[in-house]
Symmetry: C2
């Protein structure tokens, strides 16, 4: 166990003080910001996520704001997904690719107005990417990072907590729907979203000075539902088939394209619009992707080593498992990875962890 | 004290296993990669840096490679510093700005060939920035992150260690000079550089599979000089007036321009070349920068809180100290920050730390 150096080079979340007070025990770093890892009882946090309600400081999920007459033009150029039917108040999962078609982030897009969008980004500096492209195109759009700090409430009882805070009408929110609102005068955007498949909401706080206040309002409203603090959960995300940019794919490590990651249906090559990586993705679509995303079930009891592990077929390294974990619900070690497209879907292989080999079978995702 | 979550979303350095074996106790995160913070005895690491020799895993200082006929054109467009006289084998400190003139990184540039450059970057994704600009310009240059992992040896005895490893000729290396070489067949670039003012070298390992091997070669060669592991040292960098991108300035927090940071002499507005932010920087040069970088000496015994603190003049918040630390050599608390340009250089002010006020005086940097 190693400590984390908490210094001025890492940003602190708007909820940092509140999470420290409430017992955070571990941090990671995401978008140059500290993000809680757990609060000392990972099992309880997992159980709350599945059966109750948990609250997460996900302020490190930073927003990249595109504002101006050409904001819509820029955002469509940044993603292969067709946004022509996206309405104000709708969120969209939008993979972003570079000019070679490799995924460089997979944000949720929030369309706040025809000339105002937020990209709620995973862990890479899309702020720089979007600003460079907008400026070099000569488009009339300002790119910035606004003062926005998401707080997630996730789990089957999260709707009850949100209803208690905001009123019964929020039960009608569609998935990824959002609205601008406030809570005791705290400005925020409320969205039905979050990085789990257990249902929930994200409160996009718009005034970082009021982080502790919002944290406590949510905590108080959740008392009747036994709410507790937690963090995005690796086991649940594997069970649910959620992709993690940075773990499952990172430009500098994996060079994965959307077709390989199972996101091909979001790539619109025939939509009549141009986007970054279009030529490369058209070629890949024609030739077929080299690899495919797969679930794996691993026999035995390997310990997750904190990094990806090789997939071996005989003596050949044919791919990797980016992350695995023991699923209590399934009673199995489950993981995800990339293997060659032509590899027999019925064949098994080995996963190599700390020098030992463990037999593994392919399966589709999600697991649950 | 909080632990750090070591998972697949954070990259591990080529020296990770070696640093764990040699007792690393704390990590930070830089460019999405774990970087050692200390090895359990910060005082000994500071003393070795000042009086002996210390070895640092700085692989998180990633390289952004620009390769192709237009590589030189792109790198000159990325920085306000005039590179027309930079020769192959010369390093250069090159601030990078965005289109508004705000600093977005301050790498060391290595010119390996007329069509091949590395930017050894601080903590932001210049890979994305440079790739977007090169592509949108339509220039013939490939931007990538090569397999390069710097290891630094720093301190007055580092030259002896380098000479033992590479031969006596390295004593003739000029500051920021570098050469491609190898060590027992391990390919690397050797540079006289490093993030301290105690002298030293950086070994840019070009094969991450051989990280532990290189680490041990350096460790063995350094035994006669009592080498020990360490990490970039906040106290020494403050004493020496080195800027830390991320702490002293970060686009999303500080919006600082090169003139404010004391880097104005590196901005060439009359060099006859275009660069990102030129118009904005010309305006700032004409109007004068709003703030200036200053050293501060703080009375009393405040504890560094791990984040920047406000500078108060009476009841007005006029600026901030980005970082401060107790300098054993000076017997004082020293720090750096930004204050309004027009503020009387002879006037004192208060620094507010955890609700208490401490009187502080301005001073020039470096302190030593």
């Amino acid at each position: 166990m190693y400590s984390i150096g908490i210094g001025p080079n890492l940003r602190k979340s708007a909820y940092f003080d509140a999470t420290v007070r409430d017992g955070v025990r571990s941090f990671s770093v995401y978008n140059h910001m500290l993000i809680p890892g757990h609060f000392g009882d990972p099992d309880a946090e997992y159980d709350r996520l599945l059966n109750g309600v948990v609250m997460w400081d996900v302020a490190a999920q930073r927003q990249v704001e595109l504002r101006g007459p050409d904001a819509g033009r820029l955002v469509q150029y940044l993603t292969p997904r067709n946004l022509s039917k996206t309405r104000v108040g709708q969120g969209r999962y939008v993979p972003l690719c570079d000019y070679d078609g490799w995924v460089i982030n997979d944000p949720v897009l929030l369309k706040l107005a025809d000339d105002l969008y937020w990209l709620s980004v995973a862990d890479s500096d899309i702020h720089l990417w979007a600003a460079a492209i907008g400026q070099e195109k000569g488009w009339d759009v300002a790119v910035s990072e606004p003062d926005v700090s998401p707080l997630a409430i996730q789990g089957p009882k999260s709707e009850d907590v949100a209803a208690k805070l905001f009123g019964e009408h929020i039960r009608n929110f569609k998935y990824f729907g959002f609205a601008e609102t406030d809570l005791n005068g705290i400005p925020l955007v409320l969205a039905r979203s979050g990085w789990s498949k257990q249902g929930g909401f994200e409160l996009y706080l718009r005034d970082s000075a009021r982080g502790a206040e919002l944290w406590d309002l949510v905590k108080d409203a959740g008392q009747d539902f036994d709410i507790g603090p937690g963090a995005p959960n690796d086991t649940e995300r594997l069970e649910s088939g959620l992709i993690s940019y940075g773990a499952d794919m990172r430009l500098q490590i994996h060079r994965a394209n959307p077709f390989e990651m199972g996101l091909g249906k979001l790539v619109d090559l025939d939509g009549g619009f141009d986007f970054v990586g279009k030529n490369a993705l058209a070629r890949i679509a024609q030739d077929g992707p080299a690899r495919r995303h797969t679930g794996v079930i691993i026999a035995g009891d390997p310990t997750p080593p904190g990094h990806q592990v090789p997939i071996m077929s005989g003596n050949e390294e044919i791919g990797f498992v980016s992350e695995f974990a023991f699923s209590k619900r399934l009673g199995k070690n489950i993981g995800v990875g990339l293997i060659p497209s032509e590899f027999d879907p019925a064949a098994s292989f080995d996963v190599q962890v700390d020098g030992a080999r463990y037999s593994a079978a392919q399966t589709s995702v999600p697991f649950l």
